[in-house]
Symmetry: C2
Subunit: 197 residues, 2 copies
Amino acid sequence: MSVRQDDARERLLDAATQRFRRFGTRHTSVESITTAAGTGKGSLYLHYQSKEELYLATVRHAVDGFLEAAATAMHPDQPAPSRLRSLVEVAIAHYERDDLLAAPFLDDRELLDDRAATLARQLQRERVTDLIRITFIDGQRAGTIRAGLDPAVAAAVLFEIGWAIVRSHLTGELTVPLGDALRTLNDIVGHGTGSGH
Amino acid sequence: MSVRQDDARERLLDAATQRFRRFGTRHTSVESITTAAGTGKGSLYLHYQSKEELYLATVRHAVDGFLEAAATAMHPDQPAPSRLRSLVEVAIAHYERDDLLAAPFLDDRELLDDRAATLARQLQRERVTDLIRITFIDGQRAGTIRAGLDPAVAAAVLFEIGWAIVRSHLTGELTVPLGDALRTLNDIVGHGTGSGH
DNA sequence: CATCTGACCAGACTAGCAATCTGGTCAGAT
DNA sequence: ATCTGACCAGATTGCTAGTCTGGTCAGATG
């Protein structure tokens, strides 16, 4: 595959991303993408099996963007608990800026259709749970997180917990100020609710 | 209002509940409800402003059913932390049996339309958060839950946390066995993840 | 010869209209 | 005083004709 072809592939992805983000797949024609990318319509099919595949590629790209931001925010020199808090914060910040990823929370099925939303959810759950598990193990090694909790299960649970706060904030269903919720979440996850009698 | 009228009102609600649960509002005609209830069509409007109001009444009824089960499961003689765990368990058990309430998790917009789903979510969040807050305060009084956490904020956060596990289980997105998740959730909420160095 | 293209096609989608259905009313029966 | 069902407006559905568009491939291009 020549450099020329690589260029075309990237131009197609860029053009597609731009249009899909503005109008959704349904209202974006293949021709408008190839025209914007400066190629003939047929050339798209030299690089992608179908419009759907191209669409899912842009969605995967969007999720990758978030995952990068998340990984970057979790500086390995921070203690594990702070890293978990950072993760929730960066998730909220990122989703507030990314209309495409936020679409499911706004009940916008045009921008991110059911198939794509499922893909995004799966990818994100998988990868973020991984990040948490690794952080969790680090914390256990460093002694900032107690042993005795299975990292795989704890990571899955912590993902659901953190994601719950992100979602309820983004949908406007969180009934207390976000700052209070984050502080309390952190406190509970860190020290529990028990009196430790 | 006579006893006769009260009867009719209840028969209408029962007939409506049965049909709405089977077919959803859209595919249930007012006439089929009044026929099943043994009244004339006009009589429905002596008791309910509109079909929509009747529909929402059945939804409210369904939520009340869950709230009763929840309140019952949280025996006041149990320590507060066990009560919180019972709440999550009873929520899962109830939602697994109630197709109407579970509809949003199965993406079934026929059984519970957007308006109704929003109502159910709001009612449930409001009332369950209340239950948790009261339990939380009880626990602080009894000394099983540490002071220093604001009950209102903690209740809101604990609701989102517990609900996250319920939802992820019902949608099949929970990636670890439910029993493990519940045990770990309980452990984290009770004692935190910190090593307490 | 390798690469690329756009005219072409099947079948999906839309507009628009006729026919049907149904939530809600109210004059009159009971 | 209470209840009803025939009635109506307007929403929904079914249908058809016409348009649009994802995907193909014979042939242009260099």
